[in-house]
């Protein structure tokens, strides 16, 4: 009898982990994207929302949770990528195509993921740990993130880089969302077609919603 491969260390266990952490982050990016749209409402709404978030002590727990989930996701992704490259053996020639081809999003998850990771780190440096401006609404002093956003997205290079990275995120989610359900053992002819459609719709909405902000600032709030 072969020894058990282990719940989370087996090839299937890694799928569970990728699926769970991926889905959790999918929820987060959806919330983040929705909150960004407050820029279309008013500077006050935009700043007040982030003030509510960052003034709540629970935010540290949530942040730690997100970082932990991301670390598990990235660690497993690196492991998967290295193991899978090695498993291919001598195969640097042709790949499947035509009726047997697969989506390019599913084939380039590692590349998209690496780009998104770099983007996420730079994004945190630019905004979360960026210049601190203050604003005051009705006597409440809070961080003026709206002003920082307007400032950052004056640069066409910055806007371009954001668009590229967020398109990559869209691709990543377009495969990742529906793929998570499969990895968690949820595949059934009755609901899987719907999950795939929702996943695609979700990916487009998230990417488009995120891209809207820098593009809007660049075009409308030219300083």
């Amino acid at each position: 009898m072969a020894a058990s491969a282990g719940l989370f260390t087996s090839s299937i266990g890694k799928k569970y982990l990728m699926g769970i952490t991926g889905l959790a982050w999918s929820l987060f990016v959806l919330m983040h994207m929705a909150a960004n749209l407050l820029i279309f409402v008013s500077p006050k709404a935009y700043n007040a929302y982030s003030h509510v978030l960052i003034s709540n002590p629970f935010i540290y727990v949530a942040e730690a949770g997100l970082v932990l989930l991301l670390l598990i996701h990235v660690y497993n992704a690196i492991k998967l990528t290295l193991e899978n490259r090695a498993a291919r053996g001598e195969r640097a020639f042709l790949t499947t195509s035509g009726a047997k081809g697969v989506s390019s999003a599913s084939k380039t998850m590692a590349a998209q993921g690496s780009l998104i990771l770099v983007f996420t780190i730079l994004h945190l440096i630019t905004f979360k740990y960026g210049t601190v401006y203050m604003a005051s609404y009705d006597g409440v002093v809070m961080r003026d993130l709206h002003r920082l956003v307007l400032e950052v997205f004056q640069s066409p290079g910055y806007v371009g880089w954001y668009v590229v990275a967020l398109v990559a995120l869209g691709f990543h989610l377009s495969h990742g969302f529906q793929s998570s359900f499969q990895s968690l053992g949820l595949n059934h002819p009755r609901y899987t077609p719907a999950i795939k459609k929702i996943g695609l719709f979700y990916a487009v909405i998230v990417a488009a919603g995120f891209i809207a902000q820098p593009v809007y600032v660049f075009l409308v709030h030219k300083q």
């Binding site: 072969a2 195969r91 020639f93 499947t96």
Partner: protein, 255 residues
């Protein structure tokens, strides 16, 4: 696709490799190939030419030549078993190709499928996975009456679909990760769906997955290349079922 030609002249770029040595592509002409021939028959014609010239014929696996044994294993223009879905190499007709076409023929490539010679690869890793749990233990004695054990019609159908897997390894060859998940999931599903498979159900899921990992197949990332390449139409639904089986087995194990 050619419908007018009764015979074709083609160029083959075939992977030639001796055991223990690095391989390379060698170009051969394939002349006067009837469009009614199967891909393997075309290979036979090319081999006859090679034999006549005193050359070493191209080694390739084949047996039933009717899509049921899973021996034939060629990657044709990048696609395991060629361009058509649910068609094994032996069932692929030459009418699918066009006059003057160059066809690249490779073995089923994966680290776990070492090349024996040319296009023939060693797929014993799949057999070892089967030996780890892809069976039911049956006590000897008189045969039971047929229909003695009731099986739900839906499960019988699903088990039958999973049992269509011929173990050719096209799923591994098609997968960018060289994962054997589709193969393993067909075997686990087939037995998990039937009453006869219940006794060893949990053990089977754990042992077959453990052996699969031990054979160093890659990790599945749900690209779906396996499903597209499968000559028997095994679906990824079997894989999802296998993940549920494995989770249940891991959570309920006592040692």
């Amino acid at each position: 696709m050619s419908t007018t030609h009764k015979s074709l002249n083609l160029t083959l770029k075939v992977w030639r490799q001796k055991p223990g040595a690095p391989g390379r592509f060698v170009t051969y002409p394939a002349r006067n190939i009837s469009t009614d021939m199967s891909f393997l028959e075309m290979m036979d014609v090319v081999n006859q030419d090679l034999i006549k010239k005193g050359d070493d014929p191209i080694a390739f696996d084949h047996d039933c030549r009717e899509g049921i044994c899973g021996s034939c294993s060629m990657t044709i223009n990048g696609n395991p078993h060629g361009p058509d879905r649910e068609t094994a190499t032996c069932q692929l007709h030459m009418r699918r190709f066009t006059e003057g076409e160059t066809i690249t023929v490779e073995p089923f490539r994966a680290r776990s499928f070492p090349v024996i010679k040319d296009l023939a690869v060693d797929r014993a890793a799949l057999d070892r996975i089967m030996a780890a749990g892809g069976f039911v233990s049956v006590s000897t004695g008189n045969a039971q009456d047929a229909n003695n054990i009731p099986v739900a019609k839906e499960n019988a159908d699903l088990a039958f679909d999973a049992a269509a897997c011929i173990g050719c390894g096209a799923c591994v060859a098609a997968c960018k990760n060289a994962s054997a998940m589709l193969f393993v999931s067909a075997k686990i599903s087939q037995l998990a769906l039937l009453p006869q498979g219940q006794v060893e159900r949990e053990r089977r899921a754990r042992n077959m997955i453990a052996q699969m990992d031990k054979e160093k197949f890659g990790n599945c990332t749900n690209t779906g290349a396996c499903e597209a390449a499968c000559p028997k139409g095994i679906t990824m639904e079997n894989m999802a079922r296998t993940y549920r089986e494995f989770l249940k087995a891991e959570l309920s194990k006592r040692h």
